[in-house]
Symmetry: C3
Subunit: 258 residues, 3 copies
C-alpha cells in the first residue's frame, strides 16, 4: 500500500499524474490519500499531518510525502525506513516527527536514476522521482538498491513547550483543524494534570481556564480545553470556531500557568 | 466495500486515519469517499447527501457516516441494516432519510468494545469506533455480535412541503450544490404537474414561473425550474449561480402556488 | 482502471454516485480521481487537465470526463479510442488536446441505451450514461457495441502563440495552478531558446526577463520564467503567487519579444 501527502491541492493534475505513474509500474496497488491540502510550502504542517496518520496504517506501508519548495535544487531525495514503514520524499524535514518517534531508523539518499521517470523535470519530482521509486519499492526492489545510507536527515526545530518558571510554560499552536480547533503543543503525557487542576492558558488577550471531556458537554459558546485525538490538548468551542475567535494560527504563542 | 461520509474536510489527517485503521483490520478492502466536505456539524446536509448516494452502491456495502457534534457525549454509536446495506455512525439523525426510504430496517446499539481501537478518545470516534467496527463487519463479524437491537433511532424532522391552501404549498431549500442549483424539497412524485402547468415558485422576492427540461435550453440568465437528478425539483440558471442570485440557503422557505 | 475528471466538486454526492454505479456493474475495478475541482462549466480547463494526466496512466485505461454544461441537450455522448486509451464524455471539446496529440483515433456516438442507467435524467449523464458505459467497457463489452463511428468531434480553438513580427509573439495563459504558477502556452519545443537567450515576456504591466532552472534558485520575490512539468514555460515566484501579483488568469494575453 502507498499513501500520498502533498501540498498540490486537488484541482490540478499533479496528484493524478503521480497515481498514474505508480499504477503504470505497479498495477493494482492500493493508493490512499493522506492529504493534498497542506498549506503550500508548509513543511511543518505536512510533517505534523503525516505524523498523525502514518501509525494508523499497517506495517510495510510506503508513505510518499511531497511538500517540496526546494524541488530542483540541491536538497536530496530520501528513502527512510522507520517503525516498520517506508517514507519517501525530499530531505527537508518533512519526516521530522516520524523519525523522532521511532527508536531506530535508516535514511538513504535516493540515487538510482534507473528507477526515475525520464526526462526528470526540475519542477515535479513527485511525478518523476518519488512516485516511481515508491512503485518500484512496492514491486519488490530492495531499499538498499535505491541508494546509500546517510547519517543525518534535515530536522525541523522541535516545538516542545518551554518552561519559563516553576509554574509557567510557553508553547505554541501546532495546527488549526477544519473545525477551528486549536491544536496546542502541550501533550497529555507531559501535562497530565490539566484535566484535574486549575490552570490558565493565554492566547493573545484570551484566557482559557476550563477543561471539558467532550465537545458538547459545554453549552456556553466559550472556549475550553479538551484532550484532542492526537495526543495534544486542544482549545475548542462547542460547534464554534475557536481559532477564528481567538485569531490563533500555527505558531501563535500560548502561555500556560498553573 | 466501505464508503465514508464525514464533515472532516480533506486537509487534516482525520479521513486518512480512518482509512488506515480500516485497512489495518481488513487489508485490500475497497474504500470509496462519498463526501468529506459536509458543512461542519450539519447532520441534515450529511443525511441528505448520504440518501442520494447509497442507493448507487451494490447491496452489501457498508456506509460509515460521521457528522458527529455529540462525539464523546451520551449519544449512541449505532449499526443499521436497511435495504440490503449497512450503516454505521452516531445516533443523531444522520440515517434519517435512509431509514425512511426502506420498508424494513434494524438498528443496533454498538457495544462490543473488543472491536474498538483503544484507547478510545472522546473526540474522534470515527477513528476509534466507527472505522474499526466497519472493518470487522466487512471481515465477516456478524451484525448481532456488535450489540443489541434498539427500537428507535433519532430522526430529523421531516421536511415535506406543507399545504397551506388548495393551491398553495410552503416548502424549503434542501441543499445548494456546487453549481448554485437550489435543490427544493418539492419532489416529482408529489408535484408531477409542475412540468406541464403554470406555477409560481417564490424564494424571498424572486418568483420563478418557467420550467425547462435541460440546463442549456434556456439562454436568458434568469432562473427556471428543472427536474434534478435526485428526485426533487431544482431552481437553476444556465451556467449561472441561482443560489447566490436569490440568496437561498438550506432551510430558506419556498412558496409554491399553482 | 477507470479515471474520473469532472467539475462536480467533492462536497456533493455526484462523484460518489458515479463511483457507486461503476462498482455495481464492475466490482473491484480501480477508480482514480484526476480532478473534480475543474472550474464549473470550464471545458477548456478540463481539457487541459486531462491532457496532462492521461499519459501517466497505463494503456487500456478508461478516462471519463464530465464537464458538461450542455447535459440534456442535443450534444452527443461519445467514446473515443486514442493512444491506446479510452475516453468517455460529452462531445463538447473536452477531448480536444488528447485527440490532437495522438496520430490515430476513432470517435463513436454512444447510442446503446441498454448500457445506460434508467431512467436517464436530463441533468446527470455522469451517473446515468458515462459511468455505466465506462463500467461495461471495463467489463469487456467492445467499443463497437456502444455506437457507430462519427467523423468529427467538437474541437476547442487551438491556443498556440501567434507570431506578430519576426521577434514578437502573442500567446496567453493556459492555467493558473494551486501555487499561483502561470502556465503559458509557450512550449519548450517551439521556443527552446528562452532558456539561453535574453527575452521579455509581458503580462499586463509586468515584464519578466529572467530565466531560472529551479523555483528556489531565485531569492528575489520577483517573477521569473521556468520550464514547467507540463512541457510549457511557467511564470513563477519562489514560494510566492505569481498569478495574484500579476493578475493573470486563464486567457490573459502574453507578449513575448526576443
Amino acid at each position: 500500500m502507498i499513501t500520498l501527502l502533498t501540498d498540490f491541492g486537488l484541482a490540478d493534475h499533479y496528484v493524478a499524474a503521480m497515481k498514474g505513474v505508480i499504477l503504470s509500474i505497479c498495477p493494482g496497488v492500493q493508493i490512499v490519500d493522506i492529504s493534498h491540502e497542506i498549506t503550500a510550502f508548509s513543511i511543518a504542517e505536512g510533517a505534523y499531518t503525516l505524523s498523525q496518520a502514518w501509525k494508523c496504517f499497517p506495517a510495510g506501508t510506503i508513505h510518499v510525502a511531497v511538500v517540496d519548495p526546494g524541488v530542483g535544487s540541491s536538497r536530496l531525495p530520501i528513502l527512510a525506513e522507520a517503525g516498520g514503514h517506508f517514507f519517501i520524499g525530499p530531505d527537508n524535514g518533512i519526516f521530522t516527527f516520524v523519525l523522532k518517534e521511532v527508536a531506530k531508523s535508516t535514511v538513504r539518499h535516493i540515487t538510482a536514476i534507473q528507477y526515475f521517470r525520464h526526462p526528470v523535470s526540475d519542477t515535479f519530482h513527485g511525478r518523476d522521482i518519488f512516485a516511481p521509486v515508491a512503485a518500484h519499492l512496492e514491486s519488490g526492489v530492495s531499499c538498499s538498491t535505491f541508494g546509500a545510507i546517510i547519517q543525518r536527515a534535515v530536522h525541523l526545530e522541535s516545538a516542545k513547550p518551554e518552561q519559563l518558571s516553576h509554574n509557567l510554560w510557553r508553547g505554541n499552536v501546532l495546527k488549526i483543524d477544519r473545525f477551528g480547533n486549536i491544536i496546542t503543543n502541550f501533550c497529555f503525557e507531559s501535562f497530565p494534570f490539566l484535566a484535574t487542576r486549575s490552570f490558565q492558558m493565554r492566547i493573545f488577550q484570551d484566557v482559557v481556564s476550563r477543561y471539558c471531556t467532550s465537545y458538547n458537554s459545554d453549552q456556553s459558546d466559550r472556549p475550553f480545553l479538551i484532550k484532542g485525538s492526537s495526543g495534544f490538548y486542544e482549545v475548542s468551542i462547542n460547534q464554534g470556531d475557536a481559532a477564528s475567535l481567538m485569531r490563533a494560527a500555527p505558531g501563535t504563542p500560548i502561555d500556560l500557568s498553573v
